[in-house]
Subunit: 393 residues, 2 copies
């Protein structure tokens, strides 16, 4: 009944495989995170599919990041895929990913002929897609696995969450759009700043041999994408390979490459005051929600500023909008040391910092109304958030 | 500790009430559906709050629709609210709705002074909001409850879902942006068309007395908003009051007013062919998904057209994109009568119609490649969807 035979039966097979739809959909979904429809290199709008002897590899890439997702022939005793003929093809990524998700059957059959036409069949569906030449697909960087360390996946995700929000989003100083990582012995220290606020955390990692100090700056956008593709199997380890201009994250069946940023990252240690004139302990959530409510009025004004007054064991958060009215929030501190204080700051910056802390309570250090505010979760001295105040008094 | 007393203790109270936060949040949420931030009438950006002897009424309105949501003092043995002083105030709706949702305590206290400043307190939060003069708030239309009928809430929601999608979204013929309702005896017939497709359904309603034939055209946008505020208590009845230029929907504690559209709605009965040259029965979901997949390619072209070929007991859906490739879907009919057929139509229009039918199977009637296609759910003769084909052969 079909009018045309799209794949020429005489054309030689360039590739053939069968694969479980769910596995294929997961893998496509992952590599799509690296594919941009706005790329100026046409071949990079596609997803590269490689059928090899041990399984199927999908690759997606843009100029900054590349992701490889591997589907092994067998996993946990289940058959994921069968290879009829090894080979490769590049297919339009958006169409292919939408199609795979919507296919009617549990199994997908992919057959590519020598004219690079891919016949995709599943149940009663048959698509003939015009492929692109896999020979034109750029090679991924070759990474020399000399400098490697390991970190638990959930810790890596926390580390990203707690630093990347503070990177600069303007390109005025490109290096500030990245997070600086310093590896020294078994300690990884991460810091990000947009010059109005700063976030830093250090953690212990596994490293086979001490190869001195490595400093690298990873684009914030890369870390955000990495975080999205790390699945919830939190106890797994991620291997991290460093080179001078690339970093590679390897977790089970997924490889994530990012370029590194050039340029001198500023020395941020001098920004952090060592003294404190007022120190208060507050419940993290109570403080977050009080600022969130005060911000409902503050955000109607130009710069979303709230005021904080601390005295005795009380903290008052207030804000006002000429047009709409005033807000007062009263909090009782868990601990209060030092002088009474008045200070103003961006509600958004404080909420950004607090929302990344899992600790029940935070300790906030103030040096004065125009000096940096330091926020630390009580119980973890390795995390520090800093925000600069705003002059209003 | 608070620096200023925003509400003057000597100013006479204009209103005072306490209300459960959840009840208030639900009610505000409902009336917000009628409030537009783009209105040219400043008072209509506000929500009107009226504390009366029996409870609290919230009102939101724009030029087309008005919604009243009532919180009774008591309900199902639970105390919802207490009135200290009856009165009314208009508050900025967006701020108020965000604030109510985020308040820390289960109870909200609202106190309005004679300067129209509303003090809203809940737990440790205190907001002073500048209110607007409730005297300036326009009166809702006075509806004479002569012509009333009743319909079950779930049936009303289905009725809206199955017709409103076919209204015109361009203002070329304003009357086509509405759904025509005809009440005759205990039958309500609804029809919508944008002149490329049509949807109609009739249902039986409860009506106390036969008051002849009523015809009215309700804006599609009003019906969409109505559908959103009808809660999931599906067995409840909705009272519907008709006047010459307004319609009022009354369900428990909610009143929804909409203006009606002027103008002559075209006679659509002649559009519907009475004969059929080819009739096929298909599974609704299988057909929907086949068209959805074919549309992945078709939507890359100008007008998202798919082709259908019917012959024997087979239906083939196909599409193509010069750049990307071709798609074929093969379906086996549950029943086939009449001549073989080739026809083309908008994938979107067919998916819109099929997705509004709950029946497991549909019967599709074709008269010829350039005549309307009729889709009916098998098992309900009171629903009819029509789409015009597109010339491609």
């Amino acid at each position: 009944m079909q009018e045309m035979q799209d794949t020429n039966p005489n054309a030689a097979l360039a590739m053939e495989c069968k694969v479980q739809k769910e596995k294929l959909a997961d893998a496509v979904n992952r590599v799509m995170k690296a594919i941009s429809s706005k790329t100026t290199i046409p071949i990079l709008t596609g997803v590269k599919i490689t059928a090899g002897l041990d399984g199927i590899t999908l690759t997606g890439s843009n100029s900054d990041i590349s992701i490889k997702s591997f589907i092994p022939l067998e996993e946990d005793g289940n058959e994921n895929a069968m290879i009829g003929k090894s080979g490769q093809i590049v297919l339009p990524s958006r169409l292919f990913s939408e199609l795979v998700r919507k296919l009617p059957d549990e199994e997908v059959h992919i057959e590519v002929d020598s004219r690079m036409i891919a016949k995709i069949t599943s149940g009663t569906t048959e698509f003939s897609l015009n492929g692109l030449d896999p020979e034109e697909y750029p090679n991924l960087p070759i990474i020399n696995e000399n400098d490697v360390f390991r970190i638990r996946k959930d810790l890596l995700k926390d580390l990203i969450k707690q630093t990347v929000y503070a990177v600069s989003i303007t390109e005025t100083r490109p290096v500030l759009t990245g997070v600086k990582w310093i590896i020294q012995g078994e300690t990884l220290s991460c810091v990000a700043t947009d010059s109005h606020r700063l976030a830093q955390r250090s953690v212990t990692v596994e490293k086979a041999e001490d190869s001195g100090v490595h400093t690298l700056v990873i684009p914030g956008a890369s870390l955000n994408e990495l975080s999205k593709i790390l699945d919830d199997d939190d106890e797994q380890m991620v291997d991290i390979v460093m080179t001078t201009n690339q970093i590679l994250f390897k977790s089970q069946n997924v490889q994530f490459y990012s370029r590194l940023l050039d340029g001198n990252y500023p020395d941020t240690s001098r920004l952090i005051p060592s003294d404190s004139k007022t120190t208060i302990d507050l419940g993290t959530k109570a403080l977050y929600h009080a600022i969130e409510r005060a911000s409902l009025l503050a955000k109607e004004e130009r710069n979303n500023v709230v005021k904080l007054r601390a005295e005795g064991n009380q903290v008052e958060i207030s804000s006002q909008s000429l047009e709409l009215g005033r807000a007062y929030e009263t909090l009782v501190t868990e601990n209060f040391e030092g002088e009474p204080l008045r200070i103003s700051f961006s509600a958004k910056f404080m909420m950004d910092a607090l929302s990344r802390l899992d600790a029940q309570s935070v300790r906030i250090h103030f040096v004065g109304p125009m000096r940096p505010i330091i926020i630390r979760p009580i119980g973890d001295e390795h995390i520090l958030m800093l925000i600069l105040p705003i002059r209003t008094f």
